[in-house]
Symmetry: C2
């Protein structure tokens, strides 16, 4: 009889965001009159900018006529988009890349979830704590961990604690690891690894042969000069790191679906027979076998993000969200609450008073303020005692949420 | 040091279609004047139909304004599309499905590649021979096979031979298997499993506890009444089968990207602890963790395929391709060649004279007729001695290709 992949059963029943959504739905049913403001899930609310909309209309038009119709595109993405990415995202940062080092996809979530497939099933994994849950969950599914212990930590995983105490910059692992997931600007803490911190990780990976999986989906939100927006700004990083970037938060593409992943050709890892193998070739094989490229219409939209018209429009959209971030950050700290992030990222990481359970606080915030956020524990045991608010809401609603929180005197 | 997934190294260097494309490119460089007709890769050439184009324009327009903008959609797809699928693809066949049994995705290739993840790594796999290479390759990558032998067959895989001798309807396996990949209408043979044949597989799976992974991406091409277009037309199939369908060939979506997979809630398999588990719940968990839904614009386009305006437009497009299939089939058999398929599928499966190598014949056809097709061996060792032509070309070009082949007296 067919057997399931029993590793799936190690995971808790439902994905965090789904669990919170369910609670909110139940609350809404019980209080149909309640005016709920959602600062929970990291989803954008501003429409696509005009340059993107025009490009997508144009592409739909092309698909309507024999002469300009496009069938299967390259699994790796069209050159027009890859060239734009190399120029705008990397050339601007002094980083040179070849076309075949960039892989366009339908989302960073997919790529950070799938990348582990090209590594040995026995690989030792290090992940931030707290962090975006996909890194951990996909490695649990792949059987690289034991069971979860009573503290919620999975056996065999190296957790890299990021707390207020260490400035949200985790220390190097104390035991050897093979794969290191880093996320900067960080989801959920909203903090960014400095050049020195990132250089520390690159040096460590070069020394030990570990591979860094660098999730940089929020780099467009970095405002302070000098903070690295790509790991390849660190010399030597191409030999040790894969980088993930996305149009989701950069350009409001959460419902449009486009991202890209850089796998440098200089990046190698060892095969069972001891030979060194190109991870670029393996990822290419993975994508050619299991993926069929991103919608042509979507790729034309993504290209327009970097156009002369698109760039200032996108900039304005990010400014809008970052002004929300400022309002939340200053509103809450002005009321005596302790918050982090929100300066170079669309997330505000709210430190709860000692001993306050983040899941319970989530209920309190919903009941007393009608505001939805995300309990820190959803991002790992190290997120307990924190709460995430996002800057992706509407301006007036964000102001209103902050005002309600200020009035509520929550921890009084 | 990081180690790669060495199972990847068991696969031959490059994916078949890429290898053929490379040869064609080299030929083109050597003969820049050559007028090459491509009947190789299974890609469509007709533009999107008006109903789909209108729906996509409308959806792009919605994304341009705050009030109608959509961010993240459900990972499983929007209800508007799922409802249309249930009504048009299943209701019409007398099959009832719940919404949460249908999972919209960006391609059947992705789904048939990813489905194996939810099964135990030790699962015994049976695949057609010849067949679409993704079923095999993804199981090789996952470590469910040994190395390839000198005959190209992977150790540990059960090959289900489909040949002219058995009417392209494979016999039941002689040793126990857990997962059975079936493809009907078949790529590459262009043949369809009859109701009796399909019922034989369902009965076998019910008896042994195996799960059938039924790839039905070409069901829209079935013309003969009485042939099953869904495995769920067979009573009891919901308890043993997953089904994959796609808009790629049905509606010219190869560059648009949309498909769907049905995982019935009645379908169960055993966990390591002996309990029976719902595959629907596992696939849902997989998709929620590793996938972020299909582009909203694309889903609106797919919905329009089933609209009152869309249905006859799509029908006309399929008629166009099927008339190409008739031209190829009758043109070649009229010239004394032996061909199969092309009656209920857009593929013609050409039997080569005994002893003729399909890769070498590919070169001959290119050199003598300037026609590109696909060597049968690319679909498995059982495809050796056959050659695939597709009906997705332009009408006049297809006629011209057939005329050239008729003139060439290839096996004289």
């Amino acid at each position: 009889m067919a057997q399931i992949n029993s590793n799936y059963l190690k995971l808790p029943g439902s994905y965090l965001f789904a669990a919170v959504a369910k609670k909110v739905a139940a609350f809404r049913e019980a209080h149909p009159e309640a005016d709920i403001i959602r600062l929970g899930i990291g989803d954008v609310t501003r429409p696509l900018v005009p340059a993107v909309v025009e490009a997508m209309h144009r592409a739909v038009g092309e698909m309507a006529s024999c002469e300009t119709f496009r069938g299967y595109g390259p699994e790796q993405g069209y050159d027009f988009l890859i060239d734009a990415v190399i120029r705008a995202e990397y050339g601007s940062r002094g980083v040179g890349l070849d076309r075949d080092e960039v892989f366009v996809s339908d989302g960073s979530k997919c790529d950070v979830a799938n990348i582990q497939e090209i590594f040995d099933s026995g690989s030792r994994v290090a992940i931030g704590d707290p962090v975006y849950p996909v890194y951990l969950d996909t490695n649990v599914m792949a059987g690289r961990t034991g069971e979860a212990g009573p503290d919620g930590r999975f056996e065999g995983v190296t957790y890299l604690a990021a707390t207020a105490e260490n400035g949200f910059a985790p220390a190097l692992p104390e035991r050897p690891v093979d794969l290191i997931y880093l996320c900067s600007p960080n989801n959920p803490t909203g903090t960014v690894l400095s050049r020195e911190e990132l250089a520390k990780w690159v040096a460590y990976a070069r020394e030990t042969g570990a591979v860094i999986l660098f999730d940089s989906a929020y780099s467009a939100y970095i405002r302070e000069p000098g903070l690295p927006g790509s790991i390849y700004e660190i010399p030597g990083a191409k030999e040790v790191a894969v980088e993930f970037k996305s149009f989701s938060k950069t350009a409001g593409f959460t419902g449009v679906r486009c991202a890209f992943t850089v796998v440098p050709k200089a990046l190698k890892a060892r095969a069972a027979d001891g030979t060194l193998r190109s991870l670029n070739a393996l990822w290419n094989r993975r994508q050619c076998t299991k993926f069929n490229g991103v919608s042509y219409v979507v790729q034309r939209g993504a290209e327009a993000v970097y156009s002369e018209a698109g760039l200032p429009q996108i900039r304005q959209q990010i400014d809008y969200y970052m002004e929300n971030a400022r309002i939340i950050r200053e509103g809450l700290s002005g009321a005596g609450y302790t918050v982090f992030g929100g300066k170079n990222a669309p997330y505000i990481w709210w430190k709860l008073p000692d001993g306050l359970d983040s899941m319970r606080f989530s209920d309190t915030l919903l009941e007393r303020c009608r505001v939805v956020g995300t309990p820190g524990v959803g991002f790992g045991p190290g997120g307990e005692g924190y709460f995430r608010l996002t800057a992706f809401g509407d301006r007036e609603r964000t102001k209103e949420a902050v005002e309600r929180i200020r009035q509520a005197e929550l921890f009084a």
